[in-house]
């Protein structure tokens, strides 16, 4: 991440940037919209602002355009400070194309382009106006021929181009584009993109706010990523992948397709919440609370001439009761007054007791409320309710705080309005439709872990049920895949509450404790009745529950064994169950109603849900299978590489032996004594090499099949190391240094096998590195009961990608990490022949001693760490 140094420091080094934004902070009430933003644009540069909605893109553009007043920081255009008024910014050459374009609908193209830029001649001659407009459009390469058409008759893309032309009419120093393609279709967006490309080619300095990542990558020289009002990264499109930018924008690195689906699920959950008026009001309220930095708010809605508390935040129970219903007018305190007068009513100090809260003053004090302001919620048809904000400090609200409250009152009004417009049936249908969508999304190509949770929650809401559970049984083991309950979640809108994810298998009789007994009973009954071989989703069945006994809808006796749990519910609880077979086994989806009132349509919805869930579970399994297959393929690939290397290593000496031997057997040639001698000595040498390879292979297969036998005795590690070095050729032995700690204990081990370990490790270190590489073997006994030997070289180390692969395999406790290493090592040099088995064998021998062989991260070269117990604990 590279942060731009602030403008002042930069000025000394290079030319004055066209735009220098320094430590810019913008607040809306308690909400920090921009937090110390630095940004610099060189002349002719195109910089894109990327970020999620609300990240601060538009706010930054507004601030640069002088449209709002920052709390701190500076904005300079060509070295001159921009005063916070739009006209001053325009004077300095800043032009903005807003997302809503701000065109005059009834005027024609020419009038819009020249609006405010009219020269004297335009005022007298329409011809000149249209001619100049056509020239400008031509120069910008905008394909609009008829400048006399009214703007309202143009397409979205054409309107966007008119707005850009208008901004360009005065050759701006800096062009700000706010989401230029957001409202456009693909073809129209392409037109606008071409226009921006041309502007860029003409050397226009452009700051572009956009959330189309691909477009940004095509257009921008640099991308500035905003998140929560801060610049989190500045990248060049050539250096990063669009997915990285997407990850930066969202602040989380996730697979983009999974992310898209998650976003969709969140959106749908949002819709669920909004279809329930009380929860959408509480949402608006908590958003307002966050924006104002206030923790105590209440919203009252007008019902039958009274103010009824619909939602509240942070209020003690004692106050809630008193404020549950308030009359309109002075008797209702400031809220009543605000409702009556339809203007905000501000109570600067409740404690002085003179205000209209007098009635509730005694209640307000324990809640640490010192002041309040009540803002009416006004809909098109008049008063809808009142939002009241409580503050701990006496005093007036700031102007922008009050504006913010009014804004949220507007949101609340539209939420209430929307809800009132929809009659109950429509609302319910919409809810069901949304739940179906949630379930379908869940069954979509990318399963999302959170999806199941959301789906069950949504399903419970949609069924108006008290609890919903998804259970799967394989023989006696029943697993609860998900559970959603209204009782556990005090606030139903909180999707996180009341849901258990129980991965632990348990029989139904010993079901996870958190699952209510009645649900367990119902699940058992449902599973007993489900067809173990059933494939498709079976029809929905009704299960009626009475204390201690479960009777199924078919009248069969339920299992009523001694020790069965007492159902938590009284008589009259009813359950609906659907069973189907999923990759998890026999699966039941259960919904329970405590009062037994199963709503109409519940059966259909439950069946729909079961179908979608079955698909989702199948996809989940398919994905797992795919992952397993991939792992298997990798392991096979590893094996193939290994076998290829092995075959090569065996064939090489064999080729020499066969070749020399058959040469000596040739009848047509008589070899001289030197040649014969050479052939025979090479046959001998290659035979010895082959012999070593075969021994290695035998060792390897002994270790692999777990039948390695150790001839253990008390042995001295320094002696083992000396013996290992003595095996090496003399010039190699000279490169090895052994460092021993004092007072090393003798250990119970197989001397010869350990020698083999160190011959292999030291041999590898010398063989895989350039000549002259030094190897240091350090022996320590820092931890009582163990001896640690490090074999470190100062060679080239592992190639980074191999090192990563090995670390990854080792991190996952994959015993094959050294195979990864062996397979990845390029063909060994001549001085280190071997099939790459050395490391596997060393690791196997160390493991047989109850120790570990690990690759230790090293600054240079490679370092292997051998940890051996002094005495192997008795198995």
């Amino acid at each position: 991440m590279v942060h731009v140094t602030n403008g002042a420091e930069r000025d000394t080094a290079s030319a004055t940037p066209e735009l220098a934004v320094s430590a810019l902070t913008v607040r809306f009430g308690g909400l920090i919209a921009l937090d110390g933003v630095h940004l610099a644009l060189r002349a002719g540069e195109t910089v894109a602002l990327a970020g999620e909605n609300g990240a601060g893109k538009t706010t930054l553009i507004r601030a640069i355009a002088g449209d709002l007043t920052p709390v701190a920081g500076s904005i300079r255009v060509a070295g001159q400070a921009v005063p916070p008024t739009p006209s001053a910014a325009a004077k300095l050459g800043v032009r903005v194309v807003w997302q809503d374009l701000a065109l005059a609908e009834n005027l024609d193209v020419a009038a819009n382009v020249m609006l405010g830029n009219e020269r004297r001649r335009h005022l007298f001659s329409d011809v000149a106006l249209h001619r100049d407009t056509s020239r400008l459009l031509d120069r910008l390469g905008i394909p609009l021929r008829d400048t006399t058409r009214p703007v309202r008759m143009l397409s979205g893309g054409q309107r966007q181009m008119v707005a850009v032309a208008r901004a360009m009419a005065r050759n701006p120093k800096l062009l700000l584009l706010d989401e230029p393609t957001a409202a456009l279709g693909v073809q129209e967006a392409a037109l606008v993109e071409r226009l921006i490309t041309r502007l860029r080619a003409r050397g226009t300095t452009i700051l572009l706010s956009c959330h189309d990542t691909e477009l940004i990558f095509r257009l921008a020289d640099r991308i500035v990523v905003l998140r929560h009002g801060r610049v989190v990264a500045e990248v060049a499109p050539s250096e990063v992948h669009p997915d990285d930018v997407v990850a930066l924008i969202s602040g989380q690195a996730v697979d983009s397709s999974a992310r898209r689906q998650l976003t969709r699920l969140h959106g749908l959950t949002g819709r669920l919440v909004s279809s329930d008026p009380s929860s959408s009001l509480s949402l608006i309220l908590s958003a307002l609370g966050a924006a104002l930095g206030s923790e105590r708010l209440a919203i009252h809605l007008l019902e039958d001439g009274q103010l009824v508390r619909a939602a509240s935040l942070g209020m003690p129970d004692s106050l809630l009761d008193a404020w549950a219903r308030l009359p309109v007018g002075a008797a209702g305190g400031p809220a009543g007054l605000a409702a009556e007068r339809q203007v905000p009513v501000i109570e600067e100090n409740l404690r002085t007791g003179s205000g209209s809260w007098q009635v509730f003053g005694s209640l307000a004090r324990p809640a640490k409320v010192a002041s309040s302001w009540s803002v009416p919620v006004l809909g098109p048809g008049g008063l809808l309710g009142v939002i009241t904000v409580f503050r701990a400090m006496p005093g007036k609200p700031r102007r922008d705080d009050l504006d913010l409250a009014a804004l949220y009152a507007g949101y609340a009004a539209s939420a209430i309005e929307r809800d009132r417009l929809l009659d109950e049936v429509t609302a319910r249908n919409r809810l069901l439709e949304t739940i179906r969508e949630v379930l379908q999304t869940l069954a979509g190509p990318i399963p999302v872990e959170a999806g199941l949770r959301i789906a069950l929650h949504a399903l419970r809401e949609g069924l108006d049920a008290d609890e919903v559970a998804l259970l799967a049984a394989v023989e006696d083991v029943t697993t609860c895949r998900g559970y959603s309950s209204a009782a556990d979640g005090a606030i139903a809108a909180d999707t996180g509450s009341g849901i258990l994810r129980l991965g632990i298998p348990g029989t139904v009789r010993e079901a996870p404790a958190a699952l209510p007994a009645a649900m367990v009973d119902a699940a058992r009954a449902a599973l007993d009745r489900s067809d173990p071989d059933g494939v498709a989703v079976a029809g929905v069945e009704v299960l009626a529950l009475s204390p201690g006994t479960l009777r199924t809808g078919g009248g069969q006796p339920g299992s009523n064994q001694p020790g069965a749990r007492q159902p938590a519910h009284g008589p009259g609880s009813q359950y609906l169950s659907v069973s189907f077979s999923s990759p998890d086994g026999r699966t039941v989806l259960l919904a329970g109603w405590r009062d037994g009132a199963i709503p109409d349509g519940a059966t259909d919805l439950l069946e729909d849900a079961a179908n979608s869930l079955r698909l989702a579970l199948e996809r989940e399994r398919a994905l797992l299978a795919q992952q397993e297959a991939m792992a298997l393929r990798q392991s096979r690939e590893l094996q193939r590489t290994f076998l290829r290397r092995l075959s090569h290593e065996l064939r090489t000496p064999l080729t020499a032996i066969t070749g020399y031997a058959t040469s000596l057997l040739q009848q047509d040639v008589t070899w001289d004594a030197d040649s014969r001698q050479r052939f025979l000595s090479r046959i001998a040498a290659e035979s010895a090499r082959l012999g070593r390879l075969v021994n290695d292979l035998l060792d390897f297969s002994t270790i692999e099949s777990g039948i390695l036998r150790l001839n253990s005795d008390w042995c001295d590690i320094p002696l083992v190391l000396d013996a290992a070095v003595a095996v090496l050729p003399r010039e190699a032995a000279e490169q090895v240094r052994i460092v021993e700690a004092a007072g090393l204990p003798t250990i119970w081990a197989d001397h010869d096998r350990l020698e083999q370990v160190f011959v292999n490790l030291i041999g590898n270190a010398l063989g895989h590195n350039p000549p002259g590489t030094k190897v240091t073997v350090t022996v320590a006994a820092d931890i009582p009961g163990t001896i640690i030997v490090r074999v470190a070289d100062d060679g080239g180390g592992l190639p980074p990608e191999l090192s990563r692969a090995v670390t990854e395999a080792a991190g996952q406790r994959d015993p094959r990490w050294h195979d990864v290493l062996a397979a990845g090592t390029i063909r060994p040099r001549r001085q280190a022949p071997g099939a790459g088995l050395g490391l596997s064998i060393a690791s196997g021998i160390v493991a047989a001693h109850g120790g570990r062989l690990e690759l230790e991260p090293a600054e240079r070269g490679t370092c292997f760490l051998v940890t051996l117990p002094v005495e192997r604990s008795v198995e």
Partner: protein, 235 residues
């Protein structure tokens, strides 16, 4: 086997010193000139300057992909190429033939096998021998015209470049025009005795000939008789 009048020059591309020594000793004692290279770019340079008659190419070289090197050699020259490899798979063999190799030999090998393959390949690719047994000197079939003396092939007047093995196969088919030739027959006649079971050789080389001599849209020159063999249509 010293009856070959002109010393034959063999380029050995191999990095194992034992195998280099082994092949060099056996070839030198039989009157061959040998050149050795253990890396690809040097081999290509030697090919240019020394004009060897034959290349023995090890597929497993430390720095280069053997198949790629084979392809580069073939693009540069029509020299006979025998691939010597520790990889015995059919796929590797077909790939090597597709890359333009004339023969493929698996390690380990006996020295007789190596010598036999070298001689068979040389016989096939030597123009002098071809001229001796050919009755007509020019054969014309449709648009295609082959000159057995100059070893040139023209298609609609334009010269088509064939490797010696490709030429030898086409000559065998053209001289027996209209006759069905079995794979075994072609293997024995074109590649030599001992090659009768190497049926992929014929398949790969027929494909190569077709690619060069049957432009898209034209009637096929070489006809396949399934499970029997190949022929060129009679007059």
């Amino acid at each position: 086997m010293t009856e070959l009048a002109i010393p034959t020059r063999v380029l050995i591309i191999e990095d194992d010193p034992n195998i280099v020594d082994l092949i060099r000793a056996n070839l030198a004692v039989r009157g061959f000139d040998t050149l050795v290279s253990s890396d690809g770019s040097k081999a290509l340079a030697l090919l240019e300057t020394e004009q060897p008659d034959m290349v023995l190419l090890d597929l497993m070289l430390p720095e280069v992909d053997g198949f790629e090197l084979c392809k580069q050699i073939r693009e540069q020259s029509s020299v006979a190429i025998i691939v010597v490899s520790a990889r015995g798979g059919e796929r590797d063999k077909v790939t090597a033939l597709n890359m333009g190799a004339d023969d493929y030999m698996t390690k380990p090998f006996g020295i007789e096998e190596l010598l036999a393959r070298i001689l068979a390949t040389l016989r096939r690719t030597r123009p002098a021998e071809a001229a001796a047994e050919a009755a007509p000197s020019v054969i014309a079939i449709g648009d295609m015209e082959m000159d057995l003396v100059s070893q040139q092939v023209r298609l609609a007047g334009a010269e088509v470049h064939l490797t010696p093995t490709e030429f030898a196969l086409l000559r065998e088919l053209a001289l027996n025009r209209g006759k069905l030739l079995s794979r075994t027959h072609l293997l024995r006649r074109v590649w030599g005795r001992g090659y009768e079971t190497e049926t992929e050789y014929v398949r790969v080389y027929i494909r190569r000939l077709r690619a060069k001599l049957e432009p898209p849209g034209s009637p096929p020159l070489i006809l396949t008789q399934p499970r029997a063999g190949y022929r060129i249509a009679g007059e």
